[in-house]
Symmetry: C2
Subunit: 687 residues, 2 copies
Amino acid sequence: MSLVPLFAPRGVAVVGASRDPAKLGAALARSLRPFPGYVGLVNAREPRPADGVYATVRDAAAQGPLDLAMICLPAPACAPALAEAAAAGARAAIVYGGGFAEAGPDGATHQRELSAVATDTGVRLLGPNTSGFLAPGHGLTASFVPGAAAVPAGRIAVVAASGGVNHALAFLLAEAGHGVSLAVGLGNGADVAAADVLDHLAGTPDTATVALHVESVPDGRRLVESVARLAATRPVVALVVGRHEIGAFAASHTGALATSWRTARAALAQAGAVLVDDERELVDAVSALALTRLQPAAAPGVGVVTAQAGPGLLLLDDLRGRGARVPELTAATRDELATVLPPLTYQRNPVDTGRPGPGFARVLTTVAADPGVDLVAGYALAEPDAFDLVAAVAAAGDAPLVFGVGGAGPDVQRIRRELVARGVPAAVDPTGVAAMVGALITDARARRDPETPAPAGHIVEVGSGPFDEDRAKALLERLGVATMPRRACADRAAAHRALADLPGPVAVKLLDAAVLHKTDIGGVRLGVATPDQLDAALDALEAAGARRFLVEAMAPDGVDLVVGARRDPDFGPLVLCGLGGTIAEALADVALRLAPLSRAQAAAMPNELAGRALLDGWRGGPALDRDALATVLVALGDLLHAHPTLTDIEINPLRLTAQGLIALDAVVVADTALAQELETPDGHTDC
Amino acid sequence: MSLVPLFAPRGVAVVGASRDPAKLGAALARSLRPFPGYVGLVNAREPRPADGVYATVRDAAAQGPLDLAMICLPAPACAPALAEAAAAGARAAIVYGGGFAEAGPDGATHQRELSAVATDTGVRLLGPNTSGFLAPGHGLTASFVPGAAAVPAGRIAVVAASGGVNHALAFLLAEAGHGVSLAVGLGNGADVAAADVLDHLAGTPDTATVALHVESVPDGRRLVESVARLAATRPVVALVVGRHEIGAFAASHTGALATSWRTARAALAQAGAVLVDDERELVDAVSALALTRLQPAAAPGVGVVTAQAGPGLLLLDDLRGRGARVPELTAATRDELATVLPPLTYQRNPVDTGRPGPGFARVLTTVAADPGVDLVAGYALAEPDAFDLVAAVAAAGDAPLVFGVGGAGPDVQRIRRELVARGVPAAVDPTGVAAMVGALITDARARRDPETPAPAGHIVEVGSGPFDEDRAKALLERLGVATMPRRACADRAAAHRALADLPGPVAVKLLDAAVLHKTDIGGVRLGVATPDQLDAALDALEAAGARRFLVEAMAPDGVDLVVGARRDPDFGPLVLCGLGGTIAEALADVALRLAPLSRAQAAAMPNELAGRALLDGWRGGPALDRDALATVLVALGDLLHAHPTLTDIEINPLRLTAQGLIALDAVVVADTALAQELETPDGHTDC
């Protein structure tokens, strides 16, 4: 059901309005004073109808249109109050207080009761355990936090997991000279989730960009789809909490289980969101994206103009760290700049103007007009006496521009606000400029290729498990993945025949689907060249418990990758790509994508790895064909997507050799119980 | 000579005072209006003695005490003007304009002329190519940047390579509610360098902490010694530019060559500075360290108190990323908290107070009193109606405290300023709180162990080069580094005798001091077990050019490290420690220290490596004895420190095995020409 009654109600009622000014209900009633719609107060114990305080919601609803019930009652009283509000005609509600899923088993029961009422009545419920929302454009402060009404109306929406973070972000945006269209804290999210709010925003015209704060993601696919829909028309910037171990405190906060930080970030980025590292960068990013958006491009060119070389160096250093491209300006641009600037200033990009003067506007215009420049990033100390920075920047034409203004005091703040009023994102320092540029570039890159994954193109015959290495590799071959010639051997004689058949020395391995980590138990022998060596190897494998053997030609040297696909509890099938070896493993240097994924998405995965230099001809070694790797990754993702009985597939290593990619080992894990269930026609197991 | 005449002059003269208000000299004269000392203006072409504008510095000096000449002239005129000022009695000068070393050969000549005058006359020179300095406590704005006079006096000093960054930082500090004792931009640093200013600050009482901005370090050892002296009594926070490729623009800025970012950071940290990543973190760090400093400790315990769980989670996540220890509170503390807080809030650490009220002060006091807590980090949205945050924080006792206050508008800014006035560092957001805590912790850790390197304890007989692997390993053995049994073999027969003598299979290597990368040319054969295999190996090595061979017992498996020492052009002898293997190399995952270094410094090096998990018993493998590694690292550093003829020593790999650390390969490079020179008694070569 629509969230309009929640976020744009005609009238509201505070259920649990109190005379004690320290109580939530009293604070809320104060916040609602400027609201132009109907406000009813409900206090069952002390009704004063003459003052607009009624004994029941029904009584309050009789006095005006009541879309939204704001419930400030102890947890056990909330579900009955919600039912009563729904019966009185409210179509939305907020439960502010805590004592629900975050507070142990009794609280979880209360939360389930709330959810049940919401489901039964169709009333949309925000919370419980939230400080509410701000909709300054509607004159509505549905929050008990003092000062919240001071946040002005604007075009940035905040969708925060936490009410506290919602307010903290709204205040930071206000301090940066921006306003909000809507700022919501979801709290425990018993009914309304982030995806609901994003879908609501997609249908409203007054939001230019969204700041999304994520703690846990109970339904990852739904959130990703909502982000992707919204990002198609306006930028979404996401901050995901939980990079480090914060689980116990997080659970105490909303009662939700932790979502993998890494997976959530990868999934949101894949959906087109701009990911940031902290709330400052979040504010910088939406401050820029609320005002300007670049054309889609793989690597937009940044022209840097600075009035002081030192801050310009800080800015350039930061931009390089963000992977921004700062191209050398064309000869024509430099000729033009030479007519404006003193001869000894740096003019190749960055452009150092020296002490800025009236020519500053023409420098900006000239750099903006360079054919390689998609965005100008500027910095200057404010010198109101020397030149009019706002006029200079405003004259710079239509090229997207981000400008940092150094200085202190009201004059400087006024300059920044005037820049914002003219549509130019204004930062306080070089780091802010770089963060803004980084967000604009990431957004432009995400939109370059709509990246709609192709439908699964590699549906193959899988068969049922269990999969030993031979069967796993047969499956890989059907997916188009290269392997070395091999023989599955039921006994020693077969192993000896295999040694004779296969070229060069061989690897001899224990073959048993029940053993996932052969190497750990001495189940692999490499470089076996002679029958004597083979007998010694077979003796050792039998001692390690082997009954069957895999004999396989040795692969050429190369660089080992690890690729695979698995099911995430929140996001479903994922594809992974990392480098092999213990250091990569210790660093968890892995790129992730949701499956199914497009070839372009897959081909970009290795570029995220810290050790990616090893894949591009390190010290004369082989260079990775991104397209060949994409074929493998897309196939693994499609396989898991199409076959719900497969839970995990890993190729470790997938070796990059001069002859291409070769799978040296493979593990495929199937959910046998689920497979049996699915094979039974009525959908139930037969045991 | 003292910098007092520069930074606390009795009188100043502007040389090149102009009537054109847009000119530097005019801007400077305006900046000097509030200066309580003598101000003379010098304009050779338009003297107006009645208005205090004189034809010469000498004339100006006749009218009042003239300590500092502020020269605003074209580059070619500056050296003569400096000489004239010195002759007139000035003991310090600033050259503001550009056109010197940053501007090509002619400019470099002008800069040399300036330096020569400074050396000859003893006058101390700031610049050229700088916007000057601010000394608000002396009422002196020796800067032409408008608004600079608005930066209030305070206890933070800024020492910036760049005049622009100096002002940008001073303005950011002012916006954060702080003032400066001195804020200097060094410009080209023809005379006065960062080390001079730090030494000056060490002798003045009005600076509580220093923000140091570093672009290039022409004399690294001197800077490091100045930082170490200053950091002993007050914190130094350093921001080093140049993590990424910015060389061409940087050279255009000051004409200096780039210093290694990694080396400069390592050296400054070793000297006791707190290193930060950007100017925001710099402002956060000095904002905290100007007000409070922890007791020296390896891992101070942080008590986290938050009024809103969501921002508290952001804070905790960030603190964990900075390696802060957030210990569980004692049972006694939790019992005490339980009497103040509602039952369902999280109280183990972080402590979530729920909506704060009058009990907030007692929560802070209780957490601060916990025996495991050395520092309290708090966050709350400002709720002036609900409780008095400033009073609560002020009542929290003597425990160091950092507090973030969310909210917008003048009331909230007032709360933050009042906290600062009461000695409590106040941040705007959780990231700011975490950055402040990170700085306090890093500073406390740096002071735990004064880390005075022991005098070199491993001076050994080195001999002259060149060093083949056998001689290099013999040198390592004299340093106490373990190696495998080996034989240097002049011919094949000797190699066969060595195979028979040594236990188990052997490695056979080309032995030639001229070949630094044996493996690259096929000069290493491993696992040679039989005379036939040895002959095959020797054939291959001879084909690769070997005339002599090293036959060595094979080492046990383990984790490979790379350690070494080399000479840096700016900082002298350095010790390096990293993990072996191509990924570590591709990531440049290396820890650095200046030599000589203390055992404690050496033992801490592996803890900086991204892949350090591999060294602590990864998957049942060997665990590194930090002390044994420290022995090797200290010895390598002492060796290079004591023997100027050695330029480079590398052990690659130094293998961590169950039997301890073993050097498997070693390269020692000596500067033969220098060795000959040093051996010649008169210090000159004899050829």
